[in-house]
Symmetry: C2
Subunit: 459 residues, 2 copies
């Protein structure tokens, strides 16, 4: 590989750090909270900011893709030649809500640098994924006049809301988005080791409502003759798991198979760290779950069915002798391997409906469904990522299975049918909390990582 | 019986109706919400208003009895002679909270007469019990210079809060309160038939809290490894009843025996009315409960265990993928016959603690305990009540078992060891709802009922 274009590119990036940071602050000032209807115009403003930036630096076909939800942003640069790979770079420009606002030291949308850290909502999650790719591409294009790889960008505006409109969007624009590999730039690390997502669980969320009487009743007058909806809620929740924690929804485990030896090896390597971290976060000494599996297998390679909230009747101080008219619960099921979210949603609904009775009304609503995903963890593209991190950070990345879900990953895999690779460009913390920050020591390093990746994968 | 003093007394009452109503409005203006700490001074003001009224009309030993909770009010008139009975007249001067305030047509503490109805919080529940006895006694004393029966008054200020301090209060003042019979004047009727309570269920209320992690967790990161407190809440609630509704707390039914033939007869008589009323209130066609028992047996003669509220995790719109740190439920158990509230409370706590596990913390708190009670439904004192109603209302009273609880009744039975008779002096509706009213057509009738009762029982 001829190193001159690479060095020219990173040199360009380093000599523009100050300019880039000022531009980044402009981007961070836009309160693009996708979940907040009051921020609708701001979300679009953020999309338009990206379009303008793409046009300025030489990205082609920069355009807003309208969806049923928030606008997505597309752009491409496809002149690397027919033999070069085409990579679809993904990040999201929507950000988490800011509550509780009073805990922020500087206002969330007034970027502030303190002790080498840039504080702002979205600065690591995930405006960094958008911005650093744009600046990396700008650096390469400015320094060399071309890119070593064909690049398409897809930036979404509703990742923090579960990407409800992105499945249909990808489906509709599958030709426009066609690529050899998808690179997910969401997340990063908080220590000296870069991190790569090796797997994500899918998710189905739902709510069950149980209704009895037309109104809340006095438990003295009607206790013993009116069926109490909280009791049926209890029966259903109790039936979700056996005493060892095995999920009892018929057919729930049908598509769950043992993970590969390679994924198993990742888990074994990370087990002690994960448990130590969990002890710190939860304050617990003893963990829970299916016997026969390690902590990380249970946390990332086994499905779950967790009640996220239960409600019904009186919740204030002391007691009130009410027989509630209604009760219910919210649930999230995490899926693994080949568990199809639509199939699981159906099985959950059927399971709940098996509790139907004459004296109470049951209602189940499914909110979201997304596929589990295992990212590619071997092969030339992954090696390009590993090499890029290793050179720029001085450490090879830690590859980790995540227990959480990034719905877009499963969508890319299932709709586009291409492998997905993880390349996070953030370094910092508090992505979903007050005082989100980016550790600026890693700002240039991560731009370098992106630039190295383009050259590695293009060579 | 010489009718002259009786007629003189009722005549006095009737010629003073307007004056009495103005005085009643003064009493109703005092917002004596016993459960609201902000009304503490008003509760005492109501007690003092009663004392002043007692002193004015010739009741002796009028005094506030301090308790651990709200003040009780005592007074007596004991000059009917040694051979005369002594009756302890009970009512409560505290009132229900007023929420939702916006549904009141006239403000709850600004008494307002519309179409023959007097609207105010507490006007039937249960300032009427206090006020009408005072006015009936005033009428008899003013018209005849004496009473035909020895009378003691005990008016409490925390009935709507479950009378937590009244047990010890009655215990401490058992000599002062000693009587041949207790007359409970709480409640009344909403139709042309006077109503008498034949039985009340006891009650134990409690709350169960289940705690896991030190904080709410992400259900993706910790689902499968951290025990979810809502799941244990579900298991405990589900275990409370079998599929037919039979309570599964070991020993719960030990002291439940079949009701007497006389009480059984009352139930049979009232069954159709009770079901019709329940259909109207609940909007339900099909009722629920233990097979083998009639509706009213289940509603009044069988114990219950009803969850009054469940809580934990996210309760807003849609879903949030949280694994809650804490969940819990509130419960009320209605007791019958010889079920001892202390024994039942112990059994409930033991039952809940049988779900203890290493991965979650369980906490049970018992809030209140009161005895079931069957009032006297035959004998001379009851006949005195029946005759009083029959003459003044034109109908014999309907004697009904109640499914609810009036803790003070069990306290009187168990601490004083005397029979309890029911003599409600209200006629109206919405006792625990907005727009509580007294139907003034029955204001004089109920004063007459009280006066007739004094003469009947004294003769």
């Amino acid at each position: 590989m001829n190193d001159i274009p690479l060095v020219a590119s990173t040199t360009y990036a380093h000599t523009h750090t100050e300019v880039f940071l000022e531009q980044y602050k402009d981007f961070l000032r836009i309160p693009s909270i996708g979940a907040d209807p009051a921020c609708r115009a701001d979300v679009r403003r953020a999309a338009e900011w990206i379009i303008a930036e793409m046009q300025r630096i030489g990205i082609e076909h920069a355009q807003i893709i309208e969806t049923e939800g928030q606008p997505a942003v597309y752009g491409d640069w496809l002149h690397a030649g027919e033999s070069a790979l085409t990579v679809l770079l993904y990040a999201h420009y929507d950000v988490q809500p800011v509550d509780p606002l009073e805990l922020w030291i500087s206002p969330p949308f007034e970027p502030d640098i303190r002790e080498g850290k840039l504080y702002a909502r979205g600065v690591i999650d995930d405006k960094a994924g958008v911005f650093l790719h744009l600046k990396a591409v700008e650096s390469v294009l400015s320094a060399t006049g071309s890119l070593p790889v064909n690049v398409k960008f897809i930036f979404e505006g509703e990742e923090e809301s579960g990407s409800p409109a992105m499945g249909p969007c990808i489906e509709t624009h599958r030709d426009l988005l066609a690529a050899d590999v998808v690179v997910i730039s969401d997340g990063g690390s908080a220590d000296e080791y870069p991190a790569m997502m090796a797997a994500l669980r899918g998710i189905v969320t739902a709510e069950v409502r149980v209704r009895g009487s037309a109104r809340d009743l006095h438990s003295g007058s009607y206790g013993g003759v009116v069926h109490n909806p909280t009791h049926l809620v209890g029966k259903i929740i109790a039936a979700l798991h056996d005493d060892e924690g095995r999920i009892q929804i018929p057919g729930f485990y049908d598509a769950v198979v043992p993970i590969s030896a390679a994924q198993q090896a990742l888990i074994a390597e990370d087990e002690a760290r994960a448990i130590a971290r969990a002890r710190e976060v939860t304050g617990l000494e003893t963990f829970w779950g299916l016997p026969g599996y390690s902590y990380l297998e249970r946390a990332t390679a086994q499905p779950t069915c967790d009640v996220n909230g239960i409600y019904g009747g009186y919740q204030g101080q002391g007691n009130k002798t009410v027989l509630p008219a209604e009760a219910g619960f919210k649930v999230s099921m995490r899926l693994v391997h080949d568990q199809d979210p639509n199939d699981i949603a159906e099985k959950f609904v059927a399971f709940v409906n098996s509790f139907a009775c004459e004296t109470l009304k049951l209602d189940v609503q499914v909110y979201s469904r997304s596929w589990p995903a295992e990212t590619v963890i071997t092969g030339p593209v992954v090696q390009a990522v590993i090499d890029a991190y290793t050179v720029t950070w001085g450490h090879a990345p830690k590859m980790r299975r995540a227990g959480g879900s990034v719905p877009i990953v499963g969508m890319f895999q299932h709709v586009l049918g291409v492998p997905v690779v993880s390349l996070g460009l953030s370094h910092g913390s508090n992505g979903h909390s007050p005082n989100e920050y980016y550790d600026l020591e890693y700002f240039d390093k991560n731009m370098d990582t992106a630039i190295h990746f383009y050259f590695n994968v293009g060579s």
